[in-house]
């Protein structure tokens, strides 16, 4: 189990300028946890912090029951293990293979201080290369290997020390599609064989959704939400998360004791919430695809809309409606058969029915108070 709670105001160094961080996550053994966010959001800095390559000011980093970092006040770390002391496998974005060492010695160097005899170190390194299907390339220098092969050597090196956590920095960003598919397969196998937490940094949400058990969305160094992929898409914590994960149909409204007003359309919904939102709060709300029904006939509870754009891709059609009198638009995905049944075409009038139980309301932005990371008392 990896537990990370970090807070940092520092700005890194000239090689690695970093932004202030406030991240809280835990990753169980065998779990793949993705850190997702736009470029410059602090994902890589968070990963470097876990590895000990960047020092936060406050917080706790604990892995497999061992505390690697504990800081209670700025620049006064009680415990701060060096990168060498932390048992991390780190796959660098550009692989960072040692250019003067062969593939075999690039892996073996990670076992240099393992206390094993040299012959065992070489045998183990060769076994890792075999596992990555690189057995016959052991004597090659990194420059004599393709990008995908270099990445597998780097992965073998990261795993050779039997790390307690595997950290992957944008591993899919610079490789072509077949290599990517191969890496997906290797990762899936590793997850089964190695019972260690794996933390993956990516800016590609689709990839995170495909691979991760849990996702932490990071923006401007702040961990906005940690959730399983499904939950993240259905219940984003706030409007920024919804925006970052690319959820369509996010609207602004005002929530007041069970009633959600949608002022531009002069419309309202009766929505239940957990009592967390104060009365008369401006909120963002989303309606998932399965909470929206489209009708050709009007009814008092249906909201009139007009078809703005209609694009069909094979059996799928994406329709954009302009709603009521407002300029807001709403995206709806349906099968081509459904479009045909409703007789929808460009400019036609339709009537939208919202399932209020499926509406998810959220604050415009989570209130950020770094003091919550300070120890109690």
């Amino acid at each position: 189990m990896l537990k990370v709670r970090i807070h940092s105001q520092s700005h890194g160094n000239r090689h690695h300028p970093s932004i202030p961080l406030e991240i809280n996550l835990s990753c169980a053994a065998g779990e793949l946890h993705a850190l997702v966010g736009p470029s410059g959001s602090g994902k890589t800095t968070a990963l470097r912090t876990i590895a000990g390559l960047h020092q936060p000011e406050l917080g706790l980093i604990e892995c497999a029951g061992e505390i690697w970092f504990e800081g209670l006040s700025a620049n006064q770390a009680l415990i701060n293990f060096s990168p060498a002391q932390r048992s991390c496998g780190f796959l660098f974005q550009q692989y960072a293979l040692f250019p003067h060492l062969s593939a075999l010695h690039n892996v073996a160097i990670a076992l240099e201080n393992s206390g094993l005899p040299k012959s065992t170190r070489i045998a183990q390194s060769q076994a890792w290369l075999e596992r990555m299907a690189l057995g016959q390339f052991a004597d090659r220098l990194p420059a004599q290997l393709s990008g995908g092969q270099q990445q597998r050597v780097a992965l073998a090196r990261a795993l050779a020390r039997n790390p307690k956590v595997l950290l992957l920095d944008e591993p899919f960003s610079a490789i072509d599609n077949p290599t990517r598919q191969n890496l997906y397969r290797i990762l899936a196998e590793l997850r089964q064989d190695l019972a260690i937490p794996i933390v993956l940094v990516t800016h590609d949400l689709r990839e995170a959704n495909l691979l991760a058990d849990n996702i932490t969305v990071i923006d401007h160094g702040i961990g906005l939400q940690t959730a399983a992929p499904n939950e993240l898409f259905q219940k984003p914590r706030n409007s920024r998360v919804a925006e970052l994960v690319g959820i369509p149909n996010v609207f602004n409204g005002v929530f007041n004791a069970g009633r959600l007003d949608w002022p531009p359309n002069n419309w309202f919904f009766d929505v239940l919430d957990k009592g967390k939102i104060p009365p008369a709060s401006p909120v963002a709300w989303v309606i998932p695809q399965d909470g929206l029904m489209v009708h050709a006939q009007a009814a008092p509870t249906f909201l009139p809309a007009r078809v703005e754009t209609l694009s069909s891709i094979g059996q799928i059609a994406v329709v954009r409606f302009s709603v009521g009198n407002s300029k807001e638009s709403l995206v709806w995905e349906a099968s081509s058969a459904e479009i045909k049944r409703l007789g929808i075409h460009l400019g036609s009038a339709v009537f939208l029915e919202f399932d209020a139980n499926k509406i998810h309301i959220m604050p415009l932005r989570t209130i950020n108070d770094p003091r919550r990371l300070l120890p109690a008392g």
Binding site: L53, P83, A84, G89, F92, A96, I109, E112, R161
Partner: protein, 218 residues
């Protein structure tokens, strides 16, 4: 008649200078890479011998060394004196290529080595030094060739005592002064040959002259 004594003294001085300055230069260059806010001042101080007239440097060394001894040897008009002077004037030639080579190593490699569990010393001799070897070789060639040709400082601090401080370049000057143009010509040709060989050998290693100073990092 070729002055073999002067040639051997010059070679002796060049090899002794190399033997001392290379380990020191590697150590200093490695620390200069991360010297922080003092870096420009330290680099400036080390580069001073490049811009100071040799006679000025020689004058200060002469005044500073006068009457001083080291290991029982006087520091002026002695081989030890010209060796120390040679070390000082060669500092920029030895340190700059090595420092540039260390600086060209990507930070990610150092970090990867740290994450691999290597100690600072292991990172130095397993990663940094092998990657900077072109810079070290370049420093060795420049120092060697420059020591063979050094004139002003050596003359100021060592005089021209045959077999002790009279190096080949000083011998050439003396021979020209005494109208021995044939001897001066032969000695000059020999120095030219040695310097050309040293540089040609290093170019052979580097592949081309453009890589003399920068290591190639793939």
């Amino acid at each position: 008649m070729i002055d073999t004594q002067a040639i051997f003294l010059s070679l002796q001085l060049a090899f002794c200078t190399l033997l001392i300055i290379l380990p020191f230069g590697i150590w200093l260059a490695h620390h200069l890479v991360s010297a922080g806010k003092w870096k420009p001042w330290l680099e400036g101080l080390l580069a001073l011998p490049l811009v100071l007239p040799p006679t000025v440097l020689g004058y200060y060394l002469l005044v500073g060394f006068s009457g001083k001894t080291l290991f029982g040897e006087p520091l002026v008009f002695s081989f030890l004196g010209i060796l120390i002077a040679s070390l000082i004037v060669n500092l920029p030639f030895a340190i700059q290529p090595i420092q540039r080579a260390f600086e060209a190593i990507p930070t990610a490699l150092k970090e990867a080595a740290e994450v691999c569990g290597l100690s600072a010393w292991q990172i130095f001799y397993r990663i940094n030094l092998p990657l900077a070897w072109r810079g070290v070789l370049s420093a060795a060639v420049l120092t060697f060739a420059h020591t063979l040709g050094e004139f002003g400082v050596i003359l100021m601090i060592g005089g021209a005592i045959p077999g002790k401080t009279k190096t080949a370049s000083i011998a050439i000057y003396d021979q020209v002064q005494s109208f021995d143009t044939q001897g001066a010509g032969m000695l000059s040709l020999l120095l030219l040959g040695i310097s050309l060989c040293a540089i040609a050998i290093s170019y052979g290693f580097f592949g081309s002259s453009s890589q003399l100073r920068a290591p190639r990092i793939r």
